[in-house]
């Protein structure tokens, strides 16, 4: 009796698990999830660009996926459901690839952004120091030149006397 009860419980748990897995698979294959995925892929790439990075290869891949989605919509509206599903699967695969590679591009963009800020922070005081020194030395050289000219005039005046 107890063994039968355990077996029944295990069967129910297995069936529940199978139902959940099937539901998840159906969700990930429906057009709505594709619409969400393409927006998510765009958002990820947009954050790469907004932080100063670049990922043209991923953008190109996303554009291919968008074209496939549009072709799938047209095929679906023409009653060609098999072709539509096939095109959607191809688009889904491309978007998954973009979503998988986007974090690395984001890291690279953040790294590049840090380097740019670091360079700017370091370069500003250096440029200011060099410019100040140049200006200071220029004024000193000019005053020295004026003094020399004045001295020269004095010597000439003395010689004439």
């Amino acid at each position: 009796m107890i063994v039968e009860g355990i077996l029944l419980a295990l069967t129910i748990i297995s069936l529940l698990g199978l139902t959940i897995i099937t539901a998840n698979t159906q969700t990930s294959n429906d057009p709505d999830s594709l619409a969400v995925a393409k927006l998510q892929a765009f958002t990820e790439l947009a954050s790469v660009y907004s932080s100063g990075g670049q990922a043209p290869a991923l953008v190109d891949e996303l554009n291919k996926a968008l074209n496939l989605i549009q072709e799938a919509n047209i095929a679906g509206s023409n009653g060609n459901a098999v072709e539509a599903t096939n095109l959607e699967d191809q688009a889904r695969s491309l978007i998954s690839d973009v979503l998988a590679r986007a974090p690395l591009a984001q890291q690279q963009a953040q790294h590049d952004a840090f380097n740019r800020v670091f360079f700017a922070v370091v370069s500003i005081p250096v440029i200011v120091l060099i410019s100040t020194a140049t200006l200071y030395l220029g004024i000193r050289v000019w005053s020295w030149y004026e003094k020399m000219k004045f001295l020269e005039l004095k010597i000439v005046e003395k010689d004439e006397e």
Binding site: L39, F42, T43, L45, A46, V48, Y49, S50, P56, V59, L62, N63, L66, I69, Q70, I74, N78, A120, I124, I127, V128, S131, T132, L135, Y136
Partner: protein, 194 residues
């Protein structure tokens, strides 16, 4: 001290230039890639089955990555055009869409080849019932116009607004609402009764 202030100011201005104006631009050109010869033999009275070749262009000057959609609509002269001041699109269904993710400063051009496949006459009204756009058929009671005059294709540029989490037709630059759309007018050549 004066030297330090001067050089610091110059350095700051050099490293932080003012932000450029942000906008989208759209345009249509004719079969030869110029703003002319929009119709076969330069005749805007288009017959059923006659093919018209245009090229649409979109320029992204938003300085960010943008997900854009060009929405194609068919209007007559009495249906409201998109309202730039209010930021409202034209209130008719979308016939066809072109989508793309645009890089900053990217220009995107694509062909728009169309022909009317079915036109019906009902009294003085001419109705376009079937169109071919880039080889794809678009069905339905699309639009009608008096004596077949003054139909127009309107191309609205929409973009994905991450803050709103939806596509938007207009954006704001310096408290001014802006939008990008363009249109081309045409007539249906007189339909011969069967």
């Amino acid at each position: 001290m004066l030297a330090t202030i001067t050089t610091s100011s110059v350095t700051y201005v050099t490293l932080n230039p003012p932000a450029p104006e942000r906008f989208f631009a759209t345009w249509i050109v004719g079969a030869n890639g110029l703003a002319e010869h929009y119709f076969p033999n330069d005749n805007p009275n288009i017959a059923v089955g006659e093919q018209v070749n245009w090229t649409l262009g979109v320029y992204n000057a938003m300085s960010t990555l943008e997900y854009v959609v060009v929405r194609v609509k068919l209007l007559n002269s009495t249906i409201a055009s998109p309202n730039e001041t209010a930021g409202n699109p034209s209130p008719v269904p979308i016939l066809f869409e072109f989508t793309r993710v645009l890089l900053p400063n990217e220009t995107w051009t694509f062909p728009f080849v169309w022909s009317m496949l079915n036109v019906t006459q009902r009294g003085k009204l001419t109705m376009i019932g079937k169109l071919s756009i880039n080889g794809n058929t678009v069905n339905g009671a699309l639009t009608e116009a008096l004596l077949g005059m003054n139909f127009r294709f309107v191309f609205e540029l929409w973009f994905y607004d991450e803050n709103l989490n939806q596509f938007a037709f207009s954006w704001t630059t310096g408290n001014i609402r802006e939008s990008a759309w363009t249109q081309v007018w045409f007539n249906v050549a007189k339909v011969v009764a069967p």
